[in-house]
């Protein structure tokens, strides 16, 4: 539990003139004070005068025509104000994410259980919810398909809306990578190993459920307050559904109680539904999902099946990989095409491989649409590529750490998409440092000794190493931009507005530090205003670990402009440069008295990236983060329970802006990863998810996590990031879950290839092993 340690490696950090020492400091987060007092306002804590409460009538069938919607009984209660169906939608009945396939309210047909059909608004929440249960929907069930592999068979019932299908019936998208010559690659291999890996859902289980309040404003405009990651997605969705120009929709992000990707696309739907009722009633309308609605009707991590072949030389060097995978998208596209693309980009792992063939498919099924979840399609791939490395290590009798070191990408190497890495590759250092921290070889010997003496328990050590392309990458470069608005107030304080959001990850703190550094001011002088889409230009989504990076760059750009103006005013006043920070109030006063423009804007646009869909090759991300995790587990052979005893995490995310926050991100990712690997599971029966609450969907508690964990950073400075920073947020989960599951495999000496490694699955593996002995 030590404070994260930081070491420098192939860095240029010494050259960066950091003047105030802000970057890297463990500045406490300003938002924490409100949060510990219970004063932070989350969406359900807000009340507007005259506000109504909404409830949703959800589809009860996975695939059905709607013959009739009878809502008359709903109006029996005088506290109910109105109902609303798709026919009344004033704009397009579409919630646009990437494709235009998903309706706000089902029109004539439903495609998954939990699809919204109609809405109720009432004076209070209980009345609205009670009224919704009185809806009479007449369905005509039609054939449905739930399994992604079945959905791709030629005789499968058609799920997908034609507009959303790029590649054939129920095949939303297929993408590929072709690098080198795969035949030649396998011909050159001394050994070839194969595996098939399967994954179910993972639910975000952010503690705060989805919610939004729509508030009609003057001149026919609409304001949305809500818990979200992407205010500009919400703005477009609401504008489209209401038929309003973008300028008439204002989106304010409220304190957000966790997101992890789950509040990337879904808030567009939630806000659109609230907005429809607010538009109809001309009153503020609040829609907050309860936990059951949240689990049953919102996006999750994609279930997946991955088939993987790897070839290597006797010395462990990879010669070729061939990967084929199918992800279950659910009934609508939402973000699936982007998830598929990132899965494709992650398929090779952080390794140097001359010949690569990858094919990925995204299948439509009659299940809840899946979307973004920390890692965005990569975590499934991370387990696959790391399992393959362990298979090779076994087969070739090369140590697991050693075989990774031999293949690890380095500066000058080419990635699987033929991108030459020019700077900031700290991968090898993460491997070496993680190995040293656990004392890898000695540790393995100790574990062997322990296992030799123990009958009912076994220990194992798992290692995983991953890479993550920071930002949105070559598939959607147009989204990679961000604005910042900065104002010198008359009293010398600074107001900043940005368009990426705080959702618990510490963005407000990191950006305040960056601004303080760029302006040479103390952070107390700086206030980051709540995110409001009317204050800044479209700054893209807060996803892909890009928040600090892009808004940080925009803030630095704004700060440079403001500095210039401040310096020239200071010269007029004969204030020497070094006294500017302390005498800023004086200077601000002069701005005010002499009518000098005190406001500036900063803009950041992503570095050029490209991708060719034919070959799947390109310079797909402008920079990559890396990590190596090692976990030690103890498996109870009788109960199948796994205890994660110890954890070591080493990350290269470039310069770390705030060590304590960064360590907190890593620890949080470890817990989520542990949950994914060992316990989190949603059984599905046909189109119905059988887990409806946190009682049955178990996430790690404080008793499940290793209190002995060591988090550290190697900082391979990125010249293009703010003060050398890259991205961090998603990487910890990607590496963590694999370290845990691979540790279990090591302990058992027997592969498990299906997630999660629940006690039942572990027990089964133990029994099978006994039988084979």
């Amino acid at each position: 539990m030590n404070e994260a340690e930081t070491k420098h490696s192939n860095t240029k950090s010494q050259d960066l003139s950091l003047n105030s020492g802000m970057i890297g400091a463990a500045v406490p987060r300003p938002d924490a004070i409100d949060k510990v007092r219970g004063e932070a306002r989350f969406v359900d804590d807000l009340v507007f005068s005259g506000m109504l409460h909404a409830a949703v009538i959800w589809s009860e069938f996975p695939h059905a025509k709607i013959r009739n919607i009878d809502l008359t009984a709903i109006m029996d209660d005088p506290r109910v104000v109105c109902t609303l169906t798709s026919e009344e939608v004033p704009g397009d009945n579409i919630v646009h994410v990437i494709y235009d396939d998903q309706p706000a309210l089902a029109a004539g047909i439903v495609r998954y259980i939990g699809e919204p059909i109609a809405l109720v608004a009432a004076e209070d929440r209980a009345s609205a919810r009670a009224a919704a249960t009185r809806a009479l929907i007449d369905y005509e069930e039609i054939p449905a398909v739930f399994d992604p592999e079945e959905a791709l068979r030629p005789d499968a019932p058609l799920v997908a809306v034609p507009a959303a299908v790029e590649k054939g019936p129920n095949l939303f998208n297929s993408m590929r990578i072709r690098k080198g010559d795969i035949e030649q690659g396998f011909a050159a291999a001394d050994v070839v190993v194969e595996g098939e890996y399967r994954f179910g859902y993972q639910e975000h289980a952010y503690l705060e459920t989805q919610g939004a309040i729509a508030v009609p404003e003057e001149h026919g405009a609409m304001a949305i307050y809500g818990t979200m990651q992407c205010p500009f997605y919400v703005r477009s969705a609401v504008a489209q559904v209401l038929g309003l120009p973008l300028s008439k929709v204002r989106v304010v992000q409220t304190a957000t109680g966790g997101a992890f990707g789950g509040k990337e696309d879904v808030p567009s739907l939630v806000s659109a539904l609230a907005a429809l009722l607010a538009w109809k009633t001309r009153r503020p309308v609040k829609l907050v999902y309860d936990r059951e609605e949240d689990i049953l009707t919102t996006s999750k991590r994609h279930p997946a099946v991955i088939r993987y072949r790897s070839g290597a030389k006797r010395d462990g060097r990879l010669t070729a990989i061939e990967v084929d995978f199918i992800y279950n998208a659910g009934a609508y596209q939402t973000l699936s095409s982007a998830v598929l693309w990132r899965a494709l980009m992650s398929a090779a792992g952080p390794y140097r491989i001359p010949h690569v063939k990858v094919d990925g498919r995204m299948a439509a099924t009659n299940t809840v649409p899946n979307g973004a979840f920390r890692g965005f399609g990569s975590p499934q791939m991370n387990f696959a590529h790391e399992s393959q490395m362990d298979l090779l290590s076994d087969r070739l009798q090369i140590d697991r750490l050693e075989i990774r070191l031999r293949n690890a990408l380095q500066i000058g190497d080419e990635t699987a998409t033929c991108q030459r890495l020019e700077e900031s590759v700290g991968l090898t250092e993460t491997l070496e440092q993680a190995g040293q921290t656990v004392d890898w070889e000695n540790r393995l010997r100790k574990i062997e000794a322990f296992n030799a003496d123990s009958h009912s328990r076994r220990r194992g050590l798992g290692i995983s190493t991953v890479t993550y392309g920071v930002g949105l990458g070559g598939k959607a470069p147009f989204l990679d931009k961000a604005g910042a608005y900065m104002k010198l107030e008359a009293d010398g304080s600074i107001t900043i507005a940005v368009g990426t959001v705080e959702m618990g990850q510490g963005l407000t703190t990191a950006l305040t530090q960056i601004a303080a550094e760029a302006l040479s001011l103390s952070p107390e002088r700086i206030h980051l205003a709540p995110v409001d889409s009317s204050r800044v230009p479209d700054s893209g989504p807060t996803v892909a670990s890009r928040g600090t990076l892009m808004s940080g760059l925009a803030i630095i750009a704004a700060a440079e402009k403001l500095q210039e103006r401040v310096s020239s005013a200071a010269r007029d006043l004969d204030i020497p440069k070094e006294e500017i920070p302390s005498r800023l109030p004086e200077i601000a006063r002069v701005f005010f008295m002499r009518n000098i423009d005190p406001a500036v804007e900063g803009w950041a646009s992503g570095e050029p990236v490209d991708w060719d869909p034919e070959s799947g090759l390109g310079n797909v991300y402008f920079v990559y983060s890396y990590a190596t995790h090692i976990a030690q587990v103890e498996v109870d052979l009788v109960t199948g329970e796994v205890n994660v005893e110890e954890f070591v995490a080493v990350h290269d995310s470039g310069k770390i802006v705030n060590r304590r926050l960064a360590a907190g991100q890593v620890e949080g990712g470890i817990a989520q990863g542990l949950g994914y690997a060992l316990m989190e599971e949603i059984p599905r029966q046909g189109g119905r998810l059988l887990t409806t609450g946190l009682t049955t969907y178990r996430i790690p508690t404080i008793c499940d996590i290793p209190l002995r964990s060591e988090v550290s950073f190697v900082e391979a400075i990125c010249s293009k990031g703010p003060f050398g920073a890259k991205g961090l947020g998603e990487v910890p989960l990607m590496a963590a879950h694999v370290a845990v599951s691979r540790a279990v495999v090591h302990a058992l000496g027997r592969p498990i290839t299906t997630y999660p490694f629940s006690p039942e699955r572990v027990k089964k593996a133990v029994t099978m092993q006994k039988n084979s002995e």
Binding site: V36, G38, G258, G669, I670, A671, I702, L707
Partner: protein
């Protein structure tokens, strides 16, 4: 029905529906929105309050059941503008991320440290196992509880000396 309770040290009288949850009374009736609803089924601990000194899930208790009792919510933990040492420790240790679970953890920690001023790791984890956090991974929460125990100990020492 009519109930009389003491909330954060103040007497409150309210006319309530028989099926109203304590959580709704606090949030909607008394505007004490620091107490959160994360699950509504006693699983997450975001709605934790003290009922006559015991930590309980206010989503599982009817307002009618607390008639005549005393309730402490997160809003009642600090005095004025000064943070309670537990709150201070959570801020200083970085135990707060999104903050949605935080009020529940603060209240549960308050109950723990009242009965056990110097808990071990094990005692902390078993006292807080009913509070879920999806962001922090709990490591810094455990640190914060130890830190809070120390701060409270120091403070107590000081006030005893002052006597």
């Amino acid at each position: 029905m009519q109930i009389r309770i003491i909330v954060n040290g103040r007497p409150v009288e309210r006319e309530i529906e028989a099926d109203m949850r304590l959580l709704d009374l606090l949030r909607d009736g008394l505007h004490l929105t620091g107490t959160k609803e994360g699950c509504g089924e006693g699983e997450c601990g975001a709605c934790t309050v003290l009922l006559d000194g015991q930590a309980v899930n206010s989503c599982l208790i009817l307002a009618a059941q607390v008639d005549g009792k005393e309730i402490l919510t997160v809003e009642g933990i600090s005095k004025g503008n000064t943070l309670h040492p537990i709150q201070q420790a959570f801020v200083e240790e970085g135990a707060v991320q999104c903050g949605f679970c935080t009020p529940g953890f603060i209240v549960s920690t308050y109950a723990l440290l009242k009965s056990n001023p110097a808990p071990s790791d094990q005692e902390i984890t078993s006292a807080l196992t009913g509070n879920l956090c999806r962001c922090t991974g709990y490591v810094k929460i455990v640190d914060a509880v130890h830190h809070a125990a120390k701060l409270m100990h120091q403070k107590e020492g000081r006030s005893r000396r002052a006597l």
